[in-house]
């Protein structure tokens, strides 16, 4: 069985596809979006998170590994020597250490995802997300095949920046794709994510050819990708897609600072406020003029 590294499993996920879902977050992403709110999903390697506020300076981790030193009533974590083996996490009783990137095989993952199957009635199911799940596409295909055998609705949340081959592996078992669309202009895309969007758009077009429905998810970051001209370009691209079910706007929240700190990654989160309902509605209206179905979560169902 194929194994994968994951960093989270979220139950009662209601924004990762229809109904009540369980979402498995796989580790590793080809993009490095500056606004990423799951920075622990970017690196494919395991990472140890350290939350100093929770540390009680008990010294148990120090006994386990030389990466940790308790000196002068302070916990010094030598990240540079950390192998992310996770032994220190096991002995930490205060929740100050957390390992992101544990392994699990497709059978174990299927068992976990099936635990909540009673809640999947009425259109719910499971979603593979990340990071970029299709970076571990063989695992995904094997896992989704197991879940399809059980009649579970399966969704894959992807940024699209993977070889088409990765898509091909999961196509037979995927009921719905959640496809990120961050910005239409490739140069700007590279500025914000570290990568142009040529392959992403090509894969999107090929995905549309398969007939499998997909939802577009657009993160909305004020002063970054909410420019009208850019959005018009996006609207043109998206309006040509036949199997697009909806465009969902995702308002930006700068709430992941502590995660960046915990894993020792440079915090790149834009210092801009979250867009309000009106700002999001303006974007929605712009897209709707192109006959797109748009979901504004700030006005939907309140």
């Amino acid at each position: 069985m194929h194994k994968a590294r994951y960093f989270d499993l979220k139950r009662f996920a209601i924004h990762d596809g229809p109904g009540i879902r369980t979402t498995l977050f796989l580790k590793g992403c080809p993009l490095s979006c500056i606004w990423c709110h799951n920075p622990e999903g970017i690196s494919a390697a395991p990472e140890l998170a350290f939350y100093p506020m929770r540390c009680a300076l008990c010294g148990d981790c120090e006994q386990m590994c030389s990466c940790h030193q308790i000196t002068d009533a302070a916990h010094v974590f030598h990240r540079e020597t950390c192998l992310a083996c996770g032994r220190c996490e096991e002995v930490c009783l205060h929740g100050a250490l957390e390992l992101f990137g544990k392994f699990l095989d497709s059978g174990q993952a299927a068992a976990l995802l099936l635990e909540d199957r009673r809640f999947y009635r009425d259109g719910g199911g499971i979603t593979l997300s990340g990071g970029e799940p299709l970076m571990q596409s063989e695992f995904c295909a094997e896992l989704l095949a197991l879940l399809k055998e059980e009649g579970i609705h399966c969704a894959v949340d992807t940024c699209g920046e993977v070889p088409w081959k990765a898509f091909e592996r999961v196509l037979p078992f995927t009921d719905l794709f959640l496809y990120d669309f961050k910005v239409a202009d490739s140069a700007l895309h590279k500025t914000f994510t570290g990568c142009g969007n040529k392959r992403i758009l090509a894969n999107l077009a090929r995905l549309d050819q398969t007939g499998i429905p997909f939802e577009i998810r657009m993160p909305m970051i004020p002063a970054h990708n909410m420019d009208i001209e850019e959005l018009e370009k996006a609207a043109v691209i998206l309006s040509g897609l036949r199997h697009l079910t909806a465009v969902r706007l995702l308002p930006y929240h700068a709430q992941a600072h502590s995660k960046y700190q915990a894993i020792g990654r440079t915090d790149t989160l834009p210092q801009v406020p979250s867009p309000n309902a009106d700002a999001l509605e303006n974007v929605a209206e712009l897209l709707r003029r192109r006959k797109l179905r748009v979901i504004n979560p700030l006005t939907n169902g309140q």
Partner: protein, 736 residues
């Protein structure tokens, strides 16, 4: 928006019960009134208790201070304070007299002192037949009782007890009519041409003369019946009925005849609901909305929505609303309720009609009983109508205490009282099976003790508190000429409430894991740690919290023991005969006892410190449900409503993002419907820890923010700081 008139009257309404002022001459001052009641007892020595109490009722009704204010649609009288009711002195005398006949007073005291249980005579959960009350009205109830008396007399077998029963009702209802007259006269004297007082006077006259005829008169009848029973007759009416369906015929009739507009009836509802908001009993007074009819059609109607809307405008914590959910309850109605909760009003409980049916039929009641039942407490329910049920909840069992007794070979460590059997010294319990068996023996012993104590004193309920007001509103009581509070209802049941369920499951798992599987400590060593209240063993405690199975996470080990314990309680308690011709019912509902009994319980193996609160209801230990709400509901599903015919509530805390948007509502509905396949009642707190902290810092800005505590709501800003912290800690566990 509340009407301008109501807003102007709010100040009066808020003070009406908390700081009432009565006109001199409207009656005796309160201390004199109480003294008169006590003095009158000596004149009545030898009379039957129903008659003595009825005469005391009469004395109070004739002399209590009254007011009918132009700021209100509902009259007031001077004996609203339930901590100091005029009948209390008389009931104390009755109690002293009865106590002399009891043989188990010592056991009763030991159980209460050791915190093994909390046992008292329950005067707080009566449910009258509202349909009968509205059909007859106050004079009709008296006439109906008289006609039943005639039938019994014609049968030729009237005993002195039965005669006293009917005398008690007759005197009491005559006094009620006199009090209505007093209210009416007062309103007229003070009307000075004010249209509202004239209208109130007319309604009071109408109720004196017959059954209610208008929407407002129905509200007035419900209010007055509650007040007469609870505040004079000392028996709490613990249900305002199924208000949406109870009121609907009058609501529609008024609209059709154009005798009252919807706006006017909404305003009357506001005043009506505000009465209980102003009384402000912490436990709240419940009513049902919804359910299904005989054909299985949903009974959600226009009034169900109107009541929800008006209730939310008031921002009060009592009354509290229980939504009876069936498969065909419209999503639209559920959404209206869920949106209310999202707006920080947690006063709503979702109860499953099918689960109620499974619970009630498990004890031989009918499906019709389940369909028409009334709420009778925080979550509990009781059959109404012809099959009226009186169910007393007189014993709360502390499920953690038997654990302490296992560690201490039957002796309560704090009081040194010998409570349980000798189940062996810790070193003699060689396996977890030994330990579990010892626990079950101790638990079983307390259950038996509770039942024997309650069965003894419940033989005297009709002597302790003859229920004259209540009995006239129960058909079976009149038919049998038996006190409805004692054995006059069709079903006369008693509930044993079990507190600390999840704490016990977690504690058993901790012992199994740490002592018998991992062998990190011996049972004797564990006892020493608990005796020292974890002092110098904080790491061990944290390890238990981190590594041992905890109920509420879908953990198979914890859920296995939860299921075992649930089945044991159910088998042991349900269907046992009580002493009033009824049955015992099991409940996993803790009310305030998860706090009170916790204070009397030492440190326990689940990581709990001595004196701390225990888990409440069927909910996990606060903060230990770390795997999300679906895992919590999977755990809760090991308990079935059919095994807990009294009640089985679950408290859930959700992060607002978990239920935002249209998707959130859809998922939330799904969650509720899934839970109600097995469970009985579920309610929600939807907050972030940040919101709660903000409310702590700025109470003025968050005056309306409500927290569901157990079976009742409180305004968060009025909670003690340490209680606020507990909710904040739990909210911190919720992932956005």
């Amino acid at each position: 928006m509340l009407t301008k008139t109501f807003t102007q009257d709010l100040e009066y309404l808020r003070k009406k019960f908390q700081a009432p002022v009565f006109e001199k001459g409207s009656g005796l001052d309160y201390e004199t009134l109480k003294k008169r009641v006590l003095d009158s007892i000596s004149d009545m020595e030898g009379l039957p208790h129903p008659v003595i109490k009825a005469k005391a009722f009469e004395l109070i009704a004739r002399n209590v201070q009254i007011e009918v204010s132009s700021h209100d649609w509902f009259p007031s009288f001077g004996c609203w304070n339930r901590k100091d009711r005029p009948m209390a002195g008389l009931l104390r005398k009755f109690s002293e007299k009865t106590a002399a006949l009891l043989t188990k007073n010592g056991l009763w005291e030991n159980l209460n002192t050791s915190g093994s249980s909390a046992i008292w005579v329950d005067f707080d959960h009566s449910v009258p037949d509202w349909d009968m009350i509205l059909k007859f009205g106050f004079p009709g109830l008296r006439e109906n009782a008289r006609s039943w008396r005639c039938r019994h007399e014609a049968g030729g077998a009237m005993t002195p007890e039965q005669a006293a029963y009917f005398d008690g009702i007759d005197i009491t209802y005559a006094a009620i009519l006199e009090l209505l007259d007093r209210f009416h006269a007062y309103a007229l004297q003070h009307s000075a041409g004010k249209p509202r007082l004239i209208a109130v006077a007319a309604a009071l006259k109408a109720l004196h003369d017959g059954p209610p005829q208008t929407f407002y008169q129905v509200l007035l009848t419900i209010y007055l019946f509650f007040m007469f029973s609870e505040h004079i007759d000392y028996l709490q009416v613990r249900s305002l009925g199924n208000l949406d369906n109870l009121l609907l015929p009058w609501f529609e009739q008024e609209l059709e005849k154009q005798s009252a507009s919807e706006a006017e009836m909404r305003e009357r509802l506001d005043y009506f609901l505000m009465q209980w908001g102003a009384i402000d009993n912490y436990w709240g007074h419940p009513f049902y909305l919804g359910g299904t009819d005989e054909q299985g059609c949903s009974r959600i109607n226009r009034l169900s929505f109107i009541i929800l809307e008006e209730f939310e405008k008031l921002q009060i914590t009592s009354p509290k609303i229980q939504l009876k959910i069936a498969r065909n309850t419209p999503d639209e109605f559920l959404d209206a309720a869920l949106k209310m909760i999202r707006r920080s009003n947690s006063s709503l409980v979702f109860v499953g009609e099918e689960s109620i049916a499974r619970a009630m039929t498990s004890l031989g009641m009918t499906e019709a009983d389940a369909r028409t039942c009334d709420i009778r407490g925080c979550y509990e329910f009781a059959a109404r109508g012809r099959h009226n049920e009186n169910d007393t909840g007189c014993a709360y069992l502390n499920m953690l205490k038997p654990l302490e007794l296992v560690f201490n070979n039957g002796i309560d460590p704090k009081t040194k009282l010998h409570i349980g059997p000798k189940t062996g010294l810790p070193e003699e319990l060689q396996s977890f099976d030994d330990f579990y068996r010892a626990y079950i023996l101790q638990l079983s012993h307390i259950i038996e003790a509770d039942i024997s104590v309650c069965n003894e004193f419940e033989c005297f309920l009709n002597q302790l508190n003859p229920a004259n007001v209540f009995s006239a509103a129960v058909q079976n009581s009149l038919l049998t000429a038996k006190d409805a509070f004692h054995d006059g209802c069709f079903y006369n049941n008693t509930t044993l409430l079990n507190a600390g369920f999840a704490s016990t499951v977690d504690a058993l798992c901790a012992v199994r894991e740490m002592v018998y599987l991992k062998k990190e400590v011996t049972l004797a060593g564990f006892k020493e740690i608990l005796d020292a209240n974890w002092s110098n063993h904080e790491k061990f405690r944290l390890k238990i919290l981190k590594d041992c199975p905890h109920y509420g996470n879908g953990n198979p080990v914890a859920d296995h023991y939860a299921g075992m314990l649930g089945r044991f309680l159910s088998t042991k308690i349900n269907g046992r005969p009580n002493s009033r011709g009824g049955l015992w019912k099991a409940s996993i509902h803790s009310a305030r006892q998860f706090i009170e009994l916790g204070k009397k319980t030492g440190a326990t193996p689940d990581g709990r410190f001595a004196g701390e609160e225990m888990s409440k209801n069927s909910s996990p230990v606060m903060g230990m449900d770390r795997s999300g709400v679906t895992a919590l509901i999977r755990s809760a599903a090991v308990l079935d409503a059919g095994d807990f015919p009294a009640d089985l509530p679950l408290d859930v805390m959700l992060h607002p993002t978990a239920v935002e948007g249209e998707e959130g509502l859809t998922a939330w509905r799904r969650l509720i419907r899934e839970y109600l396949l097995k469970g009985l009642a579920i309610h929600f707190n939807v907050f972030t820890a940040e919101t709660l902290r903000e409310a702590q810092k700025n109470p003025d800005k968050y005056a309306g923010l409500q927290i569901r505590v157990c079976g009742w709501n409180v305004h968060f800003v009025k909670m003690a700081p340490e209680e606020q912290e507990m909710y904040i800690r739990r909210a911190e566990n919720l992932a956005p």
